[in-house]
Symmetry: C2
Subunit: 354 residues, 2 copies
């Protein structure tokens, strides 16, 4: 169905009318000039926002709209956890060009709602409009945390342990794989055209990714680490600093060190890697450490805890100590497997940089 048949208000109604409010703090969701929230005394309110542009942040040739909805929500949920908070509400704004249908938006919302349901987050509003070219997605997520329990980037101290959850670099490897398969497919299309065949007689883009399922899942369906926030609380650990790894470990470490006025020292041999990541890096002739440091889109948590909590933090499944903070004059150092020290450089995602 064409979106123009429903119009803006009809489409919003269609996509949001059966949304059930899950949080007591949500007093009014979709349908007025504003959403209305009411948080009890002693709670701090967290706000984060992300703007995702077609062709920059996602490629609809290989990202299904349901996955895109899921991931768009997840990257925002992840920012709330990165402050040691819990997501509660979300607004979702979309700009759509004419090529999108109502069914496309149903797919997108299905993914979005799957992510929100899994994290107890209410969709409370947004804006739906048209676009001359591609799709734009803007999501704002609101969460809360007990006053005094919010974790910032600036609280790390020298000697604090540096911890990461999960493993690194797999999402980036997934992206490389998708890009490679896309290039192969587009070449097949061009070949067919050269032979005078119509490209739509070719089978659709359905590459074989067997053996690489984990990499694709990490790229297409990242998971915000609610479980780690809960495990830290259960272990009575309040990190001294935290952020989520969206642009790459090196880049995020630089933010924490710069805001905390520290240096850091991390160990190559301690970087958590999945087997598939290592295999794929080998296959693509890439350095797997570089991928883990600069890959981005892992949406794992990077945090620091006092040295005294070493045993307690090491006991949390899926958390690995990769190094420690240092005095600022020691800089940001990577200790390689052979013992050589290298200065860390942020080569991660920076959409506005040359």
């Amino acid at each position: 169905m064409e979106i123009a048949e429903l119009g803006e208000f009809g489409l919003i109604r269609h996509l949001t009318e059966d949304i059930e409010i899950k949080n007591a703090e949500t007093r009014k969701g979709v349908g007025d000039d504003c959403a209305v929230l009411e948080y009890p005394a002693g709670r701090q309110v967290l706000v984060t926002t992300d703007l995702l542009m077609e062709g920059i942040h996602f490629d609809l040739q290989y990202v299904p709209l349901k996955h895109l909805g899921y991931k768009s929500a997840m990257v925002n949920l992840s920012d709330i956890y990165a402050m040691n908070g819990h997501p509660r509400q979300m607004t979702v704004s979309l700009a759509l060009s004419k090529r999108f249908t109502v069914e496309d938006m149903e797919q997108f919302y299905e993914g979005l709602r799957l992510a929100c349901d899994a994290h107890g987050c209410d969709i409370v509003g947004g804006d739906t409009t048209s676009s001359l070219t591609g799709m734009a997605i803007s999501i704002t997520c609101i969460g809360d945390a007990e006053a005094g329990k919010v974790v910032f980037r600036n609280g790390a101290r020298a000697n604090d342990l540096i911890c990461v959850s999960g493993d690194l670099g797999a999402a980036y490897m997934g992206l490389q794989l998708l890009e490679r398969e896309k290039t192969v497919y587009n070449e097949q299309v061009r070949e067919a055209q050269r032979r005078g065949e119509k490209p739509d007689t070719l089978p659709p883009f359905e590459p074989d990714f067997s053996g690489h399922e984990y990499l694709l899942e990490r790229q297409l369906k990242p998971e915000a680490r609610k479980d780690i926030i809960e495990a830290l609380a259960a272990a009575d650990i309040l990190p001294t600093s935290m952020m989520d790894i969206s642009d790459g470990l090196s880049s995020e470490l630089m933010h924490i060190c710069s805001q905390s006025h520290t240096g850091c020292r991390i160990y190559e041999e301690r970087l958590p890697l999945d087997y598939q990541t290592a295999v794929m890096a080998e296959e693509l002739n890439m350095n797997v450490t570089t991928c883990a440091l600069n890959g981005g889109e892992d949406y794992e948590l990077l945090f620091t805890v006092p040295l005294t909590l070493h045993d307690r933090v090491s006991a949390i499944p899926g958390v690995k100590v990769i190094g420690h903070m240092t005095k600022p004059e020691l800089g940001l150092q990577l200790v390689c497997r052979d013992g050589v020290e290298m200065e860390l450089k942020a080569q991660g995602w920076n959409p506005l940089k040359r």
Copy 2:
């Protein structure tokens, strides 16, 4: 200066480093994964968001970036007032194509900050990224109101008076004027090209708008009606329903009637019009009532109050009673100057409608 010289983080720092926090509720602004807010008990939190796309919502051929920043903030501030709230925080996300410079963004932020300063609103975060084609602007505004004082769209009752602030249709006339002048200028450019001249030898687009200043100001520099919200509070009037007029009076009235389960009856002769709006409509051969009903972008307030408050609401400068609510079965009626009744139709802005 090219934006690529600064990169994402450098640009954000450059644009936001001297922002001063004005509200005690803002505990942490720009610079972490989330902004952190803390509202006292008894306050409800309002959240609104708008996504503005180049070529759909604004035309950079005639909208200066400073005005665009100002207006982008204003349309969100207006939504907070429309709930009887006060704006406190704002996040600002921008997607920029390569043609924008650091100086362009300084202009945009100058307008944005002018609007925020005038309304006591803190810029607390956002996202800055790149775009393949045009510019996209996504703003989320957060405000607060005393619990129980939030005004929704669904509280109007039959016999309530329908009130609007300011005057209607001028912003739409301003848009028509800008579009007309743009067409004239682009024709001059094409003529010059036909004569073999380079278009850049022509003087830049600086049309003469004398006598139409008010219309242009309404289009390029709308003002959210904080003063009306304050005047209503001072007069101890709590509207039964309210929204701001962004898509056009007819469209907004339909929202209020539909959500309040009422009909309405408004009087053509009571629609507030500025002299310049009437003159311009005549010049363009348009029906001025149609412009007032469907023009949009006025950012005035539309609200209803109980009949008993007639004298008190009429005493507020800049507020006009234009009709009253009715039982739902009477429908939405416009009583024309000649006494003829017509059904109101929403022909206002609907970007996704054919």
